[in-house]
Subunit: 430 residues, 2 copies
């Protein structure tokens, strides 16, 4: 990062330094309609309107940047990504550009942030050994916590891409079937075990054709950037439904995404060796030459109180391995494919990425400094996940936040007109 200093004023310690420059989609103040969405890059406390700046500077990148979604830029591939990043860096450092570019900066506090891309397929992995062992012990007590293939391949399932939403979207408590105990019949009602999963998400830009596995070495040719996600989970619904087809309604009600996508090159200084893997991964998963461990530190806050600090560097399977595995059967990639790391949990109790683990399946409530005891989420609870990574110059960059507050569910059924008239305090019917 030997680039010249930017002319934009960046507050000391900002998590959006010049080394970051993450991409998002925003509406300026007073322009919240989808029709006025535009691409932005975060810098300090500001967001730069990329379409406006590209037009003002007559940039050749304007067709990719004067857009309401990141998808066209993401689809353009790594050479275009590098070119746009260099261009944005030059806009923000070249004082001769300042007069043309500065009018396109907005205070980020005043804009509305949107889901930054159209999600194609959403895949969720299960790649933290600590999380998988904790979850196995809690959900299958007495059994072997890790399934047989876990150390041979990165386990994953497809989630519902239609319910991936941007940070800040209210989390409507889902209803579903759950079985209170072994000798009790299943019942239907609002989940009583609403949980979080703190994850890191990877966003595919350049597509790949059906039947042509790109291989682990093509990770940076296809993956555009990195974000945070909260894979909200209803543990009681999940526990009852998941054998043998895996999680479905226990997950599909909502997944929240951070509004900023950190470009992969911004994480160069955060690369670290992954933990040792035994047995040695098969050749298509071998990453000895070019490992993609990442020193990203997550923080989870419940109603403003820090409750966990999961270290992403402890993940057993890296994103590059997940990328190679996900496509090893010839499955194609589309622009907008999103894959989540799986819950990030470290080896220590203060590093667990879900409330299921933090409260050990609800059996060991934990307290916050306001004196409240917690197991799963109550109505009104708000969860915020943030993360930082080193920039190599002694500083850090951030990923924005994934925020969500729990609200009560709605009535099922009735015709659409009736449903539109319902208020949020009506409970679901059994």
């Amino acid at each position: 990062m030997s680039a010249p200093a930017p002319w934009v004023s960046i507050p000391e310690g900002s998590l959006f330094p010049f080394a970051n420059l993450p991409y998002g989609v925003f509406s300026p103040p007073g322009e919240t309609e989808a029709a006025r969405r535009r691409l932005g890059v975060a810098i300090g406390d500001l967001v730069l309107d990329l379409g406006g700046a590209a037009t003002a500077t007559a940039s050749a990148h304007a067709p990719l940047l004067d857009q309401p979604s990141l998808n066209p830029l993401m689809a353009a591939g790594p050479a275009a990504w590098a070119g746009v990043r260099r261009t944005v860096q030059s806009w923000l450092t070249d004082r001769r550009r300042q007069a043309a570019v500065a009018p396109h900066l907005y205070e980020v506090a005043g804009v509305t942030l949107h889901l930054p891309f159209e999600v194609a397929d959403y895949v969720d992995f299960y790649a933290s050994e600590h999380h998988a062992i904790n979850a196995g012990r809690i959900m299958r007590p007495g059994g072997e916590p890790l399934s047989a293939p876990w150390r041979h391949l990165p386990c994953a399932y497809h989630g519902r891409s239609g319910t991936v939403v941007v940070s800040g979207t209210p989390v409507i408590r889902p209803s579903g079937q759950r079985k209170p105990s072994a000798d009790h019949p299943p019942t239907f009602g609002p989940t009583e075990r609403l949980d979080i999963e703190a994850e890191v998400g990877f966003v595919v830009g350049a597509p790949s054709p059906l039947g042509h596995p790109p291989g682990i070495g093509a990770f940076t040719d296809h993956v555009f950037g990195v974000c945070l996600l909260n894979d909200w989970s209803a543990r009681d619904i999940q526990a009852w439904e998941y054998v043998p087809l895996g999680p479905f309604l226990g997950k599909s009600f909502m997944t929240s995404l951070s509004p900023w996508i950190v470009p992969l090159p911004a994480l160069h200084a955060a690369r670290v060796p992954p933990p040792p893997r035994r047995p040695t991964p098969m050749s298509y998963l071998r990453d000895d030459d070019d490992p993609w461990g990442l020193d990203i530190n997550l923080e989870i806050r419940l109603n403003g109180h820090l409750i966990s600090s999961p270290p992403f560097a402890t993940m057993y399977w890296t994103a590059a391995q997940q990328f190679a595995h996900m496509t090893s059967n010839g499955a194609s990639l589309r622009t907008g494919d999103l894959f989540g790391s799986g819950t990030v949990s470290g080896p220590h109790s203060g590093q667990r990425g879900s409330l299921m683990e933090l409260s050990w399946g609800g059996a060991e409530p934990f307290s916050t400094p306001d004196g409240r005891l917690h197991t799963y989420l109550d109505d009104g609870d708000e969860v915020v996940i943030t993360a930082t990574a080193p920039t190599g110059d002694g500083g850090f960059l951030g990923f924005g936040e994934v925020r969500g507050q729990i609200v009560r569910g709605w009535l099922m059924g009735g015709n659409p007109a009736e449903r539109r008239g319902l208020s949020a305090n009506q409970a679901p019917l059994p």
Copy 2:
């Protein structure tokens, strides 16, 4: 079906009678580019260009019909669907329209058929009791074949919507990890247990908002039509990977779809009572008033030989129940959501919808009239799934076909330019 007779000549016994009128997307002869895609309705041996006919007749529906994909029509909702169907019926029966409409008819044999809509989320159910019991006995011998929740809820998982392709697309044999036996380490290579799953697919047209379960009574408000699908499955990859997150790479390499979407009203005469369900389904799954069993009879042909005739009327869970369950947690629906019934298997051995069942896990090869013995699919094998349903006037309608031929896989890795240069006879690397 007391409508006047169409002026179009329809061959006796055609599965595309006036009572059918399924929707698809096609390119006329010599116009295979995506830019020239247009909506069509099949009638007899012909396909009507809906955009052309709508323009020629100055129809108010032209904005929905002069399109390269069904998505805009699907999104418009049930009143628009009914209006368009009445309009098409009037075009094909009103002789005063014949001069304007007839120039927009093409021989279906000469056109190219495309995937008729953009798939949003793809959900695959597991709703045949006979299939679930067979699969449980084969994959988990000695255990209880049905999982605990199976009779309480329609089990399902999300599949990969990016690899849903139209009938006729070659099926590239996937590679993956599989474990030859309990005392043998896993290996990587081309699947040795490539299978089919003959299913009926349901296509969502009108969307629903997050957090507002539409309920079972809203099935016809949201579901646009019905098609066939072949959920190709690599049983060895699936068996090794599927605990605890369900099927992933064993399924995600490809799912083939029939090119015609039969409108739900065309199946009115095919509605039959579902089989008895015990225990009685919970209220959100109760369908006593308006059951959606469907008398659709599937046929599976392997290299031209009929090998199975699965009866859809035997399915335990109906599409309306699947629709209600899939949204019971508040998950939203998008235009283009596709849900599959799960493999259709009847109670008899000649009614099984997968080769796993027809060959009992490969242990009992079956023969075709050409003298060949079969278990799973060999390279070069071709599978065609078709289906018919009664139209209520003594005739039948068809769903087109889902066709796919197995070809060898490709080399993994290398850069994209190298990969483009590979020929299809190069085997995947371990």
